[in-house]
Amino acid sequence: MPTLRAISRGLRALFHRDETNRELDDELAHYIELSAAEKERAGMSRAAALHAARAEVGSAESVKEEVRSGGWESRVDTVRRDIVLAVRSLRRTPTFTAIALLTLALGVGANTTMFSVVNAVMLRPLPYRAPNDLVLVWTNDVQRGLPREATARSTILDWRERTRTLSDVAYFTTQRAAALGNDPSSPRERTRSALSSGNLFAVLGADPVKGRVITAEDESARANVAVISYAFWQRHFSGAPDVLGKTLHLDDDARGGQPLTVIGVMPRDFYFPDKLTDVWMPATTYWRFDRESSERFPSWARRWTAVARLARGRTVHDASTELAGIGKGLATQYVSTVPDFPGFAASVVPVLDFVTGPGLQSSLWILFAAVTMVLLIACANVANLLIARSATRQREFVLRRALGADRARIVGQLVVESLTLAVTGSAIGLFIATWSTKLLAGVIANYVPRADEITVDARVLVFTAATAIAVGLIFGILPALQSSTADASDALREGARATGAVHTRRLRSALVLAECAIAMVLLAGAGLLMKSLDRLRAVDPGFAPRGVLTVRLEFPAEPPPTAAELTQTSATAQARARARTERAEQVLASVASLAGVSAAGYSDDLFVNGQGNESITIPGRDESTIPAGELNEAAASADFFTLMHVRLRAGRYPTRDDAAQKIRALWTGVITDMPLAEKERHAVFEPVVVNEAFARRYFPNESAVGKRFCIDPTNKTYWYEIVGVVGDMHRQGLEKAPIPEYYGPYIPSAPGRADLLVRTSVDPASLAAAITERVNKAWPGVTVVSALPAEALLGGFSAQRALQAWLLAAFALLAVLLAAVGIFGLVQYAVSERTREIGVRVALGASPGEVMSLVIRDGMKMPALGLAVGVAAAFIGTRALGRFLFNVTPTDPVTFIAVALGLLIVAAVACYVPGRWAAKTDPMTALRK
């Protein structure tokens, strides 16, 4: 094979250069020898013959050069020599090289870090087959503005039957579960389990590493089987190889405690629908499956989320359109019997959007764009440095051209030099990135989904390599083309620098202008985000989170009622509820007696992550006049509002007696078939406190206190009476406006969970251990899940926003710093160009102040122009931030003016330093130059 031979010879020539050289030498020597010998035979003297032979061959070196340059390896060889040359020349100017490398390393390091996040969160495929074709389908509650509501199984089956845009539809629901060890005294292991349709794993396209997945047969046979996650296998079964067929006891509400048989283990990287879910079992094993599947309107039947695969060639938009049509058909076919039924509208969401949550993807792209802009500024700076450097090397290039190097050769060498710089800088940047990526991944772990997947993987490496080369070309080509244009006769003449210099200065000025413009855009964005953070901090949460410890408790299940108790279900349940309430009170008393604790109380989840999907009926009002919208039911113990410093607006706070009243209300028998007014007369009311948002919505022009409302007016109607109105609490974070809520008295359920709130006079976190101990002693069997300061939990809601703001601010500062370096370099260069002129001015009586103002006025031209361009660009660009701004407009004039001023000041300082040097110019030395 001639090609192979050419390559192998070429490689040999490259790597055994000396040997190839020697062989050529030998061959030439032999040639000369023979030639000389012949001439000798013809009568020449030995010396003359040798001389003639050599003359005939010509310069041995040039022959060798010619032979060498004939093969492909010669180009590689040239590059190699260029690299050696580049390294040598870069080492001659260590300051330049260090600054350039540092600039590049920072730019590339930041870029690589950001890319590794983008890569892990958005680019790396989810652990399903063709994950981009997977969608989740929810009920879209248009009236309440809740797009992701669960759906009844019957409706999902209708979707499955009628759709053409979805190739298959599966469904699931998840719930809390505790895995029980074989040893009953061992602690309960908290996890989540998923009830899954038989085709769930087929739709996901996920295969187990061990055993098999749940099938349609398991579903129809109601098989008590479980597929477990890899992590759960390792944790709960210690990775036992014979895990298949083992029994798993789950303490969950959903399945009445039937033991499960393990039939499969999923791969390590598999998760669905989230990373907390460890166990999947057939949906039909849910004890109310048949009852609930027969209905489609009541909230208790709407339990499931659909997951579907788009049919070939169909888009999310196609599916949305189709499901909207199907929904209209269902709405005419099935008329709702339930007032709070959300309708048949559906929202179709790509599974990646579900996993990453709203906003995160665009937030990451914005940050990535920002960091790329920083890199561009870094490139501009290095290009600037290179131009300055090549100006001093002009004579070197001219000389080389005079000696026969063609323009391409010189450009080539300069580009190799830039690439050497870029690759070295990027390598350092990559090294920085391996650290900063870990650091960032750790910081964002709790706020960014898939953050645990952030690594510097092959894709990141390829990205960095591509960046390095792109960067090298970007900052290398301009200066290279510029310096190689040098006209030999022009440049060799002493002092004839003017023409080239004008050109050079224009290019450098343009670069500085661009840098300032980019820095301005970044600063404006960062300023707006920071202002949003500030506005957010100014929001009154409606309670005092500082000094409150939020202790999440989980209560154990109670033993099933005895035969005797079963005859008295209601009485037993009431007695048990009273006993639990009593116990909970004892826990409060025990915790409150701790030193440093001033008050303690309960609520259900203090911070609400879910959606408020309750709906109420107010007697005497027409259903249609009752305003719709999010509404949340909550629970609070007697001391909760005082302890949280929630203001009382009307009526009274809840009392301990309210709890007893609620227990009576809960277990009072209901008569279903009588008019609502009649029901109200017979009712036992649960006393509730409502928030102001509630009072405003339902009783806008009257006092809410004393008013009554109920749920499920047509069937098992349950009644509430308002005893007080309290201030609104931001229980869903400061960004979301508080929604209407009503708080019933807190009664622990079994199993169930609650937040124990403890107001402390010391650092709340410091009491966590002591409180846990008191809880465990006062009520053995209760699990303390977590104990976190309420302030930190509230801050968690805006953590992504804060992270985004701070990252963008960091990038903007880096950009400003780099731009300042660029301005400084340009002004300094200008000053050095004008040393003579300044000398003359000083000699003619210009004061240092005048010289300085001359330099600064001149130096500020480009930054000012750049600023103007930047402001214009930012006016358009900050619109991308729209959804991330809080109470700030994208063109907030105060922010724009503030950051513009800031940038101007930085620019002025960057000009001031060389200005001072200029002002100190000694006319004698300057003129002598």
Partner: protein, 105 residues
């Protein structure tokens, strides 16, 4: 003396090697002799041509001892080289004939 006609050096080298393996100087002399001194070969071009032909697989080079115990690089024509020579010779004949006709027309 004159330089070789453009593009004929490779063919002439191959032609010289059909008789026996030869070293560089031998080929130079052979071309000069057979052309009765009309053509001269530049040693640089010759070595370059060797490299080109070798990489194309038309000739093989190997170090051997000469009659007077010197190390010399001898070149042999390969089968592929012979085939190439045949094609080039035919082509050459055609061209020469054409030029002949043109010149005597």
């Amino acid at each position: 003396m004159a330089d070789l006609i453009q593009g004929t050096l490779d063919m002439l080298i191959l032609r010289s090697l059909t008789l026996a393996p030869m070293h560089g100087f031998g080929i130079t002399r052979r071309i000069e002799q057979l052309s009765k001194g009309v053509f001269t070969v530049n040693p640089g071009s010759l070595l370059l041509a060797f490299q080109r032909l070798e990489r194309a697989g038309l000739i093989d080079g190997e170090w051997r001892e000469t009659e007077n115990k010197r190390r010399a690089r001898y070149y042999t024509i390969t089968a592929r080289g012979r085939k190439q020579l045949k094609e080039e010779s035919a082509d050459w004949e055609r061209r020469v004939a054409a030029i002949e006709r043109l010149m005597h027309a």
